[in-house]
């Protein structure tokens, strides 16, 4: 971060009372922005929105936390899709900073993990900015009415054998069964998203 952007960030943090850019109940921003999917198609959040809800996860390839959680992301995403929840995983990182986050590497990762949902490139990082997504893997779950009902971690531990709280899975289960999401906001340590420079 250069001094200028540091000052801007510091100023915004002084003003912001919440760590979360989107508030519970908010609608998803940037829903019509087309993003390149690993299959070559152009996909927006609106395109994938499900009748039962929509799950948006900001992720990437290089991040060790993503690597720790990626099997669980694939399992939850694939299962959610079968329950009528639209799923999209968005990579907003600048691959100039992380070559492992390049499009071809994304294609390989999606295939390796068996994603049945889009894994797309946020080519300007503006979708992440609009969500105020700051790190990966960061999940946003919207209900059937498009309102944010869960924001945060996949679960409570990077280490699969130490998970005791399945935040995202529980939220998906609640949304698809018409119940209240039990834990609505969680925090986790993740890789900071390396936004592309503003054009």
């Amino acid at each position: 971060m250069k001094t200028g952007s540091f000052m801007a960030l510091a100023a915004s943090m002084t003003v912001a009372a919440s760590a979360f850019g989107l508030n519970l109940g908010d609608k998803a921003p940037s829903t019509t922005v087309k993003m390149k999917n690993v299959d070559g198609s152009e996909v927006s959040i609106a395109d994938v929105a499900g009748k039962g809800g929509t799950l948006v996860i900001f992720s990437c390839n290089h991040c060790p936390f993503v690597k720790a959680w990626q099997d669980r992301i694939a399992a939850i995403g694939n299962a959610a899709k079968t329950k009528g929840v639209g799923v999209i995983v968005i990579n907003s990182n600048d691959p100039a900073s992380y070559p492992e986050d390049s499009f071809t590497e994304m294609q390989a990762r999606a295939k390796q993990l068996g994603f049945t949902f889009p894994y797309v490139v946020d080519a300007t990082s503006d979708v992440a900015r609009s969500f105020d997504a700051t790190r990966t893997p960061e999940a946003f779950l919207f209900d059937k009415d498009g309102k944010l009902v869960y924001h945060g971690a996949i679960d409570d531990s990077q280490k699969a054998d130490q998970v005791s709280k399945h935040f995202l899975q529980d939220a998906v289960d609640a949304v698809t069964s018409g119940k209240d999401v039990p834990v609505k906001e969680t925090k986790f340590v993740g890789c900071g998203i390396k936004y592309r420079a503003k054009t």
């Binding site: 971060m1 250069k2 001094t3 952007s5 540091f6 960030l9 510091a10 943090m13 912001a16 760590a19 979360f20 290089h62 991040c63 060790p64 900073s97 992380y98 700051t134 790190r135 971690a153 409570d156 531990s157 990077q158 280490k159 969680t186 925090k187 986790f188 340590v189 993740g190 890789c191 900071g192 998203i193 390396k194």
Partner: protein, 174 residues
């Protein structure tokens, strides 16, 4: 001739760092957020900078030399720097090597608590993104916080501001 080249090499490497630190001399202690808060409030410091980082985090690595430089420059004036790694503890060898390479000859730490309580225990505003920096005054009051990398001059400006607002130097212990 070989000896001369070796000496030149050693000199060159030494000049590129603030000090030479051996991996076996690097100490990394597991901490919870409560431990960090206790460390922040230990007497002796006039400013305490807590930095959350990880070996695999590119912006963390980029800002690290500036962090170490500000630690060295101001530790004699009451600055204490607490470096807390968010790496997996199985990567301890890698953590120690990185710290040694960066010339960290003061105690370092590794997060040993689940994310939510650790984040909330430091500051509610922290989203969990790395790197993250917390700057406290000598009374343990959080004076500044930011996510994302910063350059040496930013660290210095912030630290000097906190140091300058306290009239009674009590000495640093970094």
């Amino acid at each position: 001739m070989v000896g001369i080249l070796w000496c030149v090499g050693v000199l060159f490497v030494s000049c590129g760092r603030t000090s030479h630190v051996r991996v076996e001399d690097v100490h990394v202690t597991p901490v919870t957020a409560a431990d960090v808060q206790r460390l922040v409030r230990e007497p002796g410091a006039r400013a305490v900078l807590v930095n959350m980082w990880a070996t695999w985090c590119a912006p963390c690595r980029e800002e690290f030399p500036g962090l170490v430089r500000v630690a060295r420059k101001y530790q004699g004036q009451g600055l204490k720097v607490i470096l807390v790694s968010a790496d997996d503890d199985k990567d301890m060898a890698q953590i120690k090597k990185f710290l040694a390479d960066e010339g960290v000859d003061f105690p370092a730490y590794i997060k040993a608590e689940k994310d939510q309580p650790f984040i909330d225990g430091l500051d509610q505003r922290w989203t969990g993104a790395l790197p993250a920096t917390f700057l406290y005054d000598g009374n343990g009051k959080l004076r500044d916080f930011w996510e994302g990398e910063a350059a040496f001059n930013v660290f210095e400006q912030k630290v000097v501001e906190v140091l300058g607002k306290q009239s009674k130097p009590t000495g640093g212990n970094s």
